[in-house]
């Protein structure tokens, strides 16, 4: 697989898997207004995934479209960040996961707007606007929950402590990242990390939350080494395709 294909799949799968997770909330959120808010985030992310998967299919050149890629790859062929596949937990847990990824995608898309890959630059330009809103939404909620009641503070601090270990992967550079950065396709992860960290620190401060210590173990979702959760997510998402091979919908 070419580095470019790998890279585009990482972007696509992270958006898809996160969008799928958020979709699980719709109809079950803490307030009706939040059902609508989470649905909007989910729709944006699935929209990004569709553009990116379509592009990935073109790079691959085997005639696979967005649905072929989404519905027939097994988990080890998925390239999303492990953070994105973590289960929703309670609303606070979902918000913590969202803040951590939104701040990352915010800086990522900002950098990708200047990509030498015109197609990626175009997708990033659209996605950046969406992501700015996502971050506004998720950061707003993290601040309310962190600086809300004792219970809400305890809950989101617990979620932050448990999800933090997946943040190392966001910036763990590998050959694909290096090749894409040196070709000017992708921004340097080290630069992103500094800006991500600044966003996160700012939100955590206002939310009166403690930044957890970094954990040495790094997940490699973007290389297909996933937690146990992704398999279940895909089993649900891909069920019709697998039960009725060859049918179109």
């Amino acid at each position: 697989m070419s580095a470019r294909l790998e890279y585009v799949l990482r972007l696509a799968d992270t958006s898809l898997v996160l969008g799928q997770r958020l979709g699980e909330w719709i109809g079950h959120a803490p307030a009706l207004e939040e059902d609508l808010g989470l649905a909007n985030l989910s729709l944006d992310l699935i929209g990004q995934a569709r553009l990116l998967l379509t592009y990935a299919g073109e790079i691959e050149g085997r005639g696979r479209n967005e649905d072929d890629l989404a519905m027939s790859r097994d988990q080890s062929d998925y390239r999303n960040l492990a953070l994105a596949e973590q289960p929703n937990g309670d609303f606070g847990h979902t918000i913590v996961r969202q803040v951590l990824i939104d701040a990352f995608q915010l800086e990522l898309y900002e950098g990708l707007q200047r990509s030498t890959d015109a197609r990626l630059a175009e997708i990033a330009h659209k996605a950046l606007k969406e992501t700015r809103y996502h971050f506004r939404y998720s950061a707003g909620w993290l601040i309310r929950l962190g600086d809300g009641t004792e219970e809400s503070h305890r809950r989101v601090q617990g979620s932050l402590d448990s999800l933090w270990r997946f943040t190392r992967e966001l910036f763990a550079e590998d050959d694909v990242d290096r090749e894409m950065a040196s070709a000017g396709v992708a921004p340097q992860l080290a630069d992103l990390e500094l800006r991500w960290s600044a966003h996160i620190d700012e939100v955590l401060k206002e939310a009166t939350l403690q930044r957890p210590a970094d954990v040495p173990y790094v997940w490699h979702g973007k290389r297909g080494q996933h937690t146990e959760h992704l398999g279940y997510l895909l089993a649900e998402m891909q069920f019709l395709h697998r039960a009725y091979p060859g049918a179109s919908w």
Partner: protein
């Protein structure tokens, strides 16, 4: 979008008959007769207010509970396009619930009170949502039949005498125009697909047809509120008129799909220029309305769970707002 069951009985007070009230009522009725809109702070008979609160809140509950059966398929939608469309549709239903709760709140009831009535089981919602959605074709059938029936019910309400309800309805009808079309498109794809997909589509039609006809509510002979509601221009057509209209336009659509309507009595009547259909099983309707339908329990439990599990979130948001207020006051 779902207005059936809205005739279910409430306990509004009968009109008081003091001379003052009689004059106010006469003036009110004259305004309604002249097709003037009634607005929130205008004088209105208590029965009118109560009827509206009951109808609008039941309508809102139906939208919100209606998110659940289709919501079942968001994570399993067969393509990413279908997934996005379904999310947007279920989201719209939540939005429509909100427009309607907003409209009801202008009548002096809070959203929390309405929610309490729903969760305690005291309030009704459209019983169509107490049927299960075991297959993907159910998403198609709901869009095609349930939204189709709902639109037929709702278009007349756009001209309802109560301004906020009518305005919410205009917005809802405009937004819902895609819901029925996407449902029909799903059915069409299935009907033209593999033999298994065709079977899936027919099975969904078999299960949704009669419940969809029941959505228009009891037959006119049985319906308690129709006459008064029509006088108040809350309702513009009778249940049976709307049901007939629905059958007349839907039967040809089923033919186009090559699917069979599960009614051995169904036939075209040349004389009346309408389809004649078989008897509706009102005993089933009453059972589902009473809470004994296939999914009544699951639907209410899902709403209760969301409400209970969201409590700490809602409280935290209020607590944070209060802290912010205090900080601002101190800084000033």
């Amino acid at each position: 979008m779902y207005t059936q069951g809205l005739d279910s009985p409430g306990r509004e007070a009968l009109h008081a008959s003091s001379p003052d009230t009689a004059a106010l009522e006469a003036r009110f009725q004259a305004r309604v007769d002249a097709d003037e809109k009634i607005e929130p702070k205008d004088w209105m008979p208590e029965g009118y207010r109560q009827t509206l609160i009951r109808q609008i809140s039941q309508h809102a509950h139906s939208e919100v509970v209606g998110m659940l059966p289709e919501g079942n398929w968001i994570t399993r939608a067969p393509t990413l396009r279908r997934k996005a469309v379904l999310i947007a549709k279920v989201q719209d239903e939540g939005g429509h619930g909100m427009y309607l709760y907003s409209a009801a709140e202008t009548l002096g009831i809070s959203r929390d009170q309405m929610m309490a009535q729903l969760l305690s089981g005291a309030a009704k919602y459209s019983s169509i949502f107490n049927y299960p959605t075991p297959t993907w074709a159910d998403v198609g059938a709901i869009g095609w039949l349930v939204d189709g029936a709902a639109i037929m019910n709702q278009i007349p309400i756009c001209r309802c005498s109560y301004g906020p309800y009518a305005r919410a309805m205009v917005r809802i009808c405009r937004e819902e125009s895609f819901h029925q079309r996407q449902g029909f498109e799903i059915m069409m794809t299935l009907a033209r697909g593999t033999p298994e997909q065709r079977r899936m589509a027919q099975d969904a039609l078999n299960r949704w047809w009669w419940p969809a006809l029941m959505m228009f509510g009891p037959s006119d002979a049985e319906s308690r509120h129709t006459a008064q509601s029509m006088r108040w221009k809350i309702k513009r057509f009778t249940n049976d008129e709307l049901r007939q209209q629905f059958v007349d336009i839907t039967v040809p659509q089923a033919r186009f799909l090559g699917l069979e309507i599960p009614d051995p009595h169904l036939r075209w009547d040349e004389a009346s220029q309408h389809y004649v259909f078989g008897p509706i099983d009102w005993a089933e309707f009453q059972q589902v309305l009473k809470g004994n339908g296939p999914c009544n329990r699951e639907r209410l439990e899902a709403r209760r769970r969301a409400y209970e599990q969201g409590r700490w979130v809602r409280e935290a948001a209020l607590a944070h707002a209060e802290k912010q207020r205090q900080r601002a006051a101190q800084a000033a």
